[in-house]
Amino acid sequence: MRPDPATVPDGPSAYLDHAASTPMRPEAVEAMLPFLAGTFANPSGAHGPSRSARRALAAREELASVVGCEPDEVVFTSGGTEADNLAVLGAHAGRPGPVLASAVEHRAVLAPVRAVGGTVVPVDARGVVDLDAVRELATGARRDGGAVTLASLMAVNSETGVVQPVERFCEAVRAVDGDTLVHCDAAQALAWLDVSAATSRCDLVTLSAHKFGGPKGTGALVVRGRAARVLRPVAHGGGQERELRPGTQNVAGAVAMAVAARLAAAERDATVRRVAALRDRLADGLADAVGALEPAPRALRVAGSCHLRFPGVVGEELVLLADREGVSTSTGSACASGAREPSHVLVAMGWDEASAAQAVRISLGATTTAAEVDHALRVVVRAVRQLRLGAAPAR
């Protein structure tokens, strides 16, 4: 699939920003089309067309079987950000009290956590959450009379690809107070991990369809039993989605997300093996040719993650040069103006600003090919050498 020819130069290209978004799987596109024009009705209506649309929302059964929850525990949302906000703000509204989140969470978690006066848990130099600090903070909160309402830890970091110890996090938090709800932002996980196993002990789980071949604008928050008794809606309106997320459901999006989730899960082992080999080829090639460094051990990271630091190079410049040769990469988080900001993830890992500016997030996905990796290797090596020279060779 070739991107828009107007914005991508002619010749070979390599889309290596799957952590930002993935192309939709053809099966998911196929699955959603009937619900855009044909079976279009509002699923809350009282007539035949509505019943058809409502039946399509049985997609939540398919999704539930992938995630390992009950179908009625799936709350469809407009995406990962809304799901994260609903988890944090909704839990805090239902049971006001201390909230914890790791320092490397996505802004969609950190911003609502800050908004309710929550506390950030440090990570180690690899970017893994510090479980001793979790215990300490939770114990401190309990001693001060306010047991932690909600603790949030992502399954996979969106920048570094590091897999977090979600299960041990649940144990640590609950050893202090059994009532604390645990939220897991699994937006980056479904393509690479068995989310069902990784998040089985979590009360709330965030999913984002466009990270695994589904459409943008579609996500879900899994709300398990006891969390449902605490959570309050953050938007108010109709009674859809167990009165937790008012608004007419995105039927086509839900159907497509479920299909994409099922296929991603079914193909996961094969995808992980294939993509890990491509990632290793790219990371090893860049280490050999231009001394690229891996900020976090590869063994801790998902198969698609090729997060690197290029000493002597400004990441922002490398991304621009690579883009001009059709290689799409990223430096991590972007602010509203589109400027790159020093990554809060790398800063939390103890990096100084200058080192953080040298990081580039290259992320592979299920559709990545060997030809893309080879093209990227050529382009990035050439670009790094040019940038280190301080000036481009004359053209």
Binding site: E316, E317, S337, G338, A339, E353, G390, P393, R395
Partner: protein, 345 residues
């Protein structure tokens, strides 16, 4: 591309001339209390113009460099009772420093900006020369005067040959999104007014957050007698008239500031006159002026140029002239050509 009309038209003119153009907006400053420069709205405007022109647009984050090269010196100069030149420093270190270096690494032949000034080549040597912009009222050669031929060699000022009216007419003709946008004013990272404050309250509140301000005694230049107090000696500029106790007389000006002694000396207009200005950090666009050469000098962005003689470490005015506030750039011209600069002591 700041998101203003000048840089938009600069890009448009280059595209019309057939250059391969990439738009870049420098993110220099951010934060809730700033004046709104580098705001998301300005970036959107620049991006829209690039879309209209059919060229790529990028945002470059230079906040670290800007803080170190412009904001910190701005604060330090105030602390020393001097009058800083943040636009000059930004041009020298950011636009024609970090950005020019980045452009070279990325393989671009030149950096173009929307400044009203002209770069021309000497017919014989091909060396770049810096001239005032065609629109005298909008001329920005003063804030570029610390550049040298090494930078100017890779710099283009496409709107420098146009008047502001011509710039706006071009933008309107091309339907550019920024055609009617008002000109920017003042120091971009400092709000002109703090919320609810009066004139220059923005500068005060900006500096207050970053340094200690001290009240100062105001002394009469003639008698040495104390006339009263100012709330912050660091906020007074040589030549300033407003907000100073005048000892019952009408036109009194700050003529000297001593932040260590926390005093401000005020005098009459003639006390502000000086026969010369001693310069440090002198720069030359090309060859230095020989000692004793005639030139004109300008001591502020919109100051009147005065006739002078360039000496080794100073310029001597033909007639006593208004003192240049310490810290201000002094630009030296031959006709409308910038030959060099220095910083007033």
């Amino acid at each position: 591309m700041s998101g203003g009309v000048d840089s938009s038209v600069a890009a448009g003119l280059l595209v019309e001339d057939g250059h391969e153009v990439v738009g870049a907006t420098m993110k220099l400053w951010g934060g809730a209390s700033d004046s709104g420069c580098c705001s998301a709205a300005d970036v959107r405007d620049a991006r829209r113009v690039c879309d209209q022109l059919g060229v790529e647009h990028h945002v470059f984050n230079f906040t670290t460099e800007f803080t170190a090269s412009v904001v910190e010196p701005y604060v330090a100069e105030h602390a020393a009772g001097r009058t800083p030149n943040p636009c000059v420093e930004c041009n020298r270190h950011l636009k024609f420093g970090a950005l020019l270096e980045r452009a070279a690494r990325l393989g671009f032949a030149a950096v173009a900006t929307g400044h009203h000034a002209r770069v021309e080549r000497s017919p014989g040597t091909g060396r770049p020369r810096l001239r005032r912009g065609a629109d005298v009222a909008k001329d920005q050669s003063y804030v570029l005067a610390a550049l040298t031929s090494a930078e100017l060699d890779r710099v283009l000022f496409p709107v420098g040959a146009l008047t502001k009216a011509e710039v706006r007419a071009f933008a309107e003709r091309r339907g550019l999104a920024t055609a009617a946008k008002p000109d920017s004013q003042d120091v971009c990272f400092v709000a002109s007014r703090a919320p609810g404050g009066g004139p220059s309250s923005g500068r005060r509140s900006f500096l207050e957050d970053r340094m200690e301000l001290h009240p100062g005694r105001v002394l009469d230049a003639a008698t040495g007698e104390s006339l009263g107090e100012v709330p912050a000696v660091e906020l007074v500029t040589v030549g300033q008239r407003r907000g100073l106790p005048a000892g019952g007389r009408r036109r009194r000006f700050a003529v000297a500031i001593d932040t260590a002694a926390r005093t401000v000396v005020v005098g009459d207009e003639h006390d502000l006159l000086a026969g010369e200005v001693v310069l440090t950090a002198r720069t030359w666009v090309g060859d230095p002026l020989p000692v004793g050469a005639r030139c004109t000098v300008q001591g502020s962005a919109h100051g009147r140029p005065v006739a002078a003689t360039s000496l080794a470490d100073r310029v001597r005015f033909d007639r006593p002239s208004r003192r240049v506030a310490p810290g201000q750039l002094v630009a030296c011209y031959l006709g409308d050509e910038v030959v060099g600069s220095g910083v007033a002591c």
